[in-house]
Amino acid sequence: MRATAIDDTGAVGEKAPTADGIRKGPRKGDGALVVRRLSKEYQRGVPVLKDISLDFPRRGVVAVIGPSGTGKSTLIRCINRLVEPTSGKIMLDGRDLTKLRGSALRAARREIGMIFQEYNLVERLSVIENLLCGRLGYLPVWRVWLRRFPETDIAEAFSLLDRVGLGDFATRRADALSGGQRQRVGIARAVMQNPKLLLADEPTSSLDPKTSVEIMELMRDLAAERDIPVIINIHDVALARRFATRIIGMSEGSVVYDGPPDELEETHLHQIYGAGDREGGWIG
């Protein structure tokens, strides 16, 4: 832990205090994220992301739209390095995430919460244990093994559970919940990390339309309360328009639109999804 902080000091002196893992209430949203010339090839010569450069705002909801297979998921996974970028830089708070290894990488990851399409809860753990998973990056092995989570973490987990409306479900097993409830737990788990940035990978794709709206509202409101910027991959253009403060349109690994939702026009959508006659049916 200590070594990490020293590394950080060496790299970006002023930010060192935020990297030592001590929590003092919700951190202010200082998650300026900058992506420069990012490329990713799973197979040599077949780029999924082609030289992407983007600046993400310090607050608000950014929606990344585009057809499936266009690299949205890869983009988001490059940010927390669940996918290894082939080239390019990803700077969070002035620190290049693509250069991090080992414990420095894990320390960076715990400041980035992630919400998944299929919730990816640990099915056999209870709801409260799933929330506490959000604290794993801050805890030594013995505490986790003995389930000796700090009282402050447990209190935080219960209050977040109340906030997402699942206060009575704390000791239920995650696999006993419905899809919408699971995604609420997924969101709460990500927020438990006290992140500087939230990533959401198609968070509503497995949900019905009504629940999708509720989940989007919850993400937007929680992020606003805690001043955390959010990047959401989403193929549902209507939802993106309704909830995002900015929309990034991707097509075949490149950014083809970047601007506010109300300037997104039909011609842009044709460019993003291809000139088809898919009347309103933007299937991801």
Binding site: R110, G113, F116, V122, R124, C133, R135, L136, V141, V144
Partner: protein, 268 residues
């Protein structure tokens, strides 16, 4: 053929729902031929079986009534077998947890899984009795040899099945835990183990059951427990005492099975 005639393209092959599998038929045929051949080599004849039957009935007759007056020796052997089984199970289960984890190819690099798998394969390659003989020769008569033999058997069985169980887990759940910045061991504790724990407990209770059975047998080769008592009773043609021992073993195994089942339920 009428079916073929009604089809639009004349001369097209009649479609068959069940293709004959000549290779499988050949395998079955070959197996049957080998059984007959091997039987003739080993002089397994009907006459031999009939003489065997009359021998068997005499033997069974001498076993009854079972002789329980020496119950103290009997109980002593049983208790030692039970101790061997429980000690070997506990240590074997504790050791096979990390070994199984190291052998899981979806979590570990080949440099770790290959030796772990080799260790498991080695533990599985001999029957516990052979291992017990080796340990008796190496460290002398007594319960310790039996315990070591059964520990090795436990590692082989649980380690292999546990590694396979880990290889079947959902990596999505693991990815989510990894995304929180958790260290490797925290990922294992919260992301991997919950997914396989109930199966691990299943394997462990089966192994306890099986160790209980084998603990009655390692004594035959000097590894301690009721097996030694049984063997000497056989050698002294003490067949009524043999019957008493066998009945006691059956009772212990049945009770053990009930307890193992109960353990399985309470931990899941």
């Amino acid at each position: 053929m009428t079916i073929a005639d009604t089809r639009p393209a004349p001369g097209a092959l009649r479609r068959r729902a069940f293709q004959p599998n000549w290779r499988q038929r050949a395998i079955w045929l070959g197996l049957a031929a080998y059984v007959v051949y091997a039987g003739s080599l080993l002089d397994i004849t009907w006459a031999r079986f009939v003489t065997g039957l009359s021998n068997g009935s005499r033997f069974l007759g001498r076993m009854f009534p079972p002789e329980f007056t020496r119950w103290e020796i009997l109980l002593e052997g049983l208790v030692e077998s039970l101790q061997i089984a429980i000690i070997a199970s506990v240590i074997g289960i504790l050791l096979s947890l990390p070994i199984g984890l190291l052998a899981a190819r979806n979590l570990m690099p080949a440099i770790v899984t290959v030796p772990a798998r080799a260790l498991i394969a080695f533990s599985r390659s001999f029957h516990p009795i052979i291992v017990a003989i080796i340990f008796v020769k190496a460290i002398g008569f007594g319960a310790l040899a039996g315990i070591l033999a059964l520990i090795l058997a436990s590692i082989g069985f649980i380690g292999k099945l546990f590694a396979e169980a880990i290889e079947e887990i959902s990596l999505k759940q693991v990815e989510a835990v990894r995304a929180t910045g958790a260290s490797f061991f925290n990922v294992v504790i919260m992301g991997v183990l919950p997914q396989v724990l109930s199966r691990f407990i299943g394997f462990s209770t089966y192994q306890l059951d099986s160790n209980l059975r084998n603990s009655t047998m390692v004594g035959i080769v000097g590894g301690g427990g009721i097996g030694g008592t049984l063997f000497s009773a056989f050698q002294r043609f003490d067949y009524d005492f043999v019957a008493a021992i066998l009945i006691a073993i059956i009772a212990m195994i049945m009770i053990g099975e009930v307890i193992a089942g109960w353990l399985r339920k309470s931990f899941q």
